[in-house]
């Protein structure tokens, strides 16, 4: 076993234990989100360590379940942003993407010299043939996307889109090839506060000619509570 493999193992274990702090934690977390091999090491440690928390069950008070249900499912549920917008809906032919967002880290617990938060989200096609994990890094104002399933058809490329609440989608950049891509956020997108919507479509080489998605939109995801630039 090589030295660097051992180092990776220990970094993965330290991440799973929660022992990393500050910039180092951000860096390693980012790596876990973008490097499948490293993510596997983290998963291995999470699995080993989780058996320490495999304890005899204790019945929780019913009030916990009641409060949970009331909190998650209040009577009035607003339609998702893309439905209100109609933009993506028209382009996806009514396809509903399974959209899931995980906020990895938020700033409040850290000191004044912090980096921005990191949001991870997954863009999944409704028929399950396409998946992309997206990491929005507000400290660098960039988005890192990694394909975990599917891709552009032969002779086509991927294009990444984004918009803020009630705004039209604009291009973040082209994704001509490769498993992963890192794209700087355009200033308008970096400035979005609140819900940031990301989407991926397939387009002719060179990108959409219309300025809006013209090919199939694989899916979109809403990332809630995004903080704006600067």
């Amino acid at each position: 076993m090589t030295q660097s493999h051992d180092d990776d193992e220990m970094l993965a274990a330290e991440l799973a234990l929660g022992l990393l702090e500050g910039d180092e934690r951000d860096r390693v977390q980012r790596r876990a989100a973008t490097d499948p091999g490293f993510a596997g090491l983290v998963r291995g440690w999470e699995t080993r360590l989780s058996t320490m928390a495999d304890l005899p069950p204790v019945t929780a008070p019913f009030s916990v379940k009641a409060a949970l249900m009331a909190d998650l499912f209040p009577e009035t549920v607003k339609p998702p942003i893309w439905k209100r917008l109609g933009v993506w809906q028209a382009l996806t032919g009514g396809a509903v993407a399974v959209a899931l967002v995980l906020v990895l880290t938020l700033t409040p617990l850290r000191g004044p010299n912090t980096t921005g938060p990191l949001y991870t989200a997954e863009i999944t096609s409704d028929i399950g043939d396409f998946r992309v994990v997206a990491v929005v890094d507000k400290s660098r104002q960039e988005v890192i996307l990694t394909r975990t399933l599917g891709g552009a058809p032969e002779g086509r490329i991927l294009q990444v889109w984004a918009h803020g609440p009630d705004e039209p989608a604009q291009s973040v950049g082209l994704w001509p090839a490769g498993e992963s891509i890192r794209l700087p956020l355009p200033p308008d997108i970096a400035a979005v506060r609140g819900t940031l919507t990301l989407g991926v479509s397939e387009e002719p080489p060179g990108g959409s000619l219309t300025g809006s998605p013209s090919g199939r939109v694989f899916g979109t995801v809403d990332i809630a509570n995004v903080i704006g630039a600067g």
């Binding site: 702090e21 699995t47 069950p57």
Partner: protein
């Protein structure tokens, strides 16, 4: 004693893996009834984790709430993580409880702890371990020198930082880092054997 009361040990049979997995899949599609069913099936295991980490009922209940919200929102990520279903759920419960514990530590005055109730029967010494995997990690932890074992459980179940672990063991931080790394390597070798 026939009636299940709050805080009682519940039935110790582990929730069936395929059923939990099916429920997570339905939760990822936004099915509310599936979340309620998943809660009924797994909440006692997850509440046990919250109680063990936070050692205080109100915090454990709050952490449980946060854990379930995360499960609801992130169920679609379950497959991507490649975990077994209970590992995934327990890891979320543990991480959520640790976050809450650390937030409490960074804000609380020492006196605030005095009124809190200790969680019933949830110290590692008293806990009987549930699954064979859990017995295995305990057996493997037992093969480690005491200081290394304490460092690993202190980090995982009590959310201690390197600095806190070093202070508790009265050793320099780099020594603690070395102990912990050696402990983890030995633990991995023992568990993967």
């Amino acid at each position: 004693m026939t009636e299940a009361k709050e805080g009682d040990r519940a039935d110790n049979t582990p929730p069936p893996q395929d059923r939990v997995e099916g429920l997570i899949a339905r939760v990822s599609l936004g099915e509310r009834a599936a979340l309620a069913e998943l809660y009924d099936l797994t909440s006692a295991k997850l509440y046990a984790v919250s109680l063990r980490v936070l050692r205080e009922r109100q915090s454990a209940e709050d952490a449980m709430h946060d854990t379930c919200v995360k499960i609801w929102k992130n169920a679609g990520r379950y497959r991507v993580t490649g975990h077994s279903p209970m590992t995934w759920l327990i890891t979320i419960a543990r991480n959520t409880a640790i976050d809450r514990l650390r937030a409490r530590r960074s804000h609380a005055h020492v006196g605030d702890y005095e009124d809190t109730l200790a969680a019933p029967g949830q110290t590692p010494e008293q806990a009987t371990i549930a699954a064979s995997d859990a017995r295995r990690i305990v057996a493997c932890l037992d093969t480690l020198p005491e200081d290394r074992r304490a460092a690993i459980t202190g980090a995982y179940l009590d959310g201690q930082s390197y600095a806190e672990l070093a202070e508790a063991a009265k050793v320099p931080l780099n020594t603690m880092r070395t102990w912990l790394r050696r402990g983890l390597i030995a633990l991995r070798e023992c568990m993967d054997r």
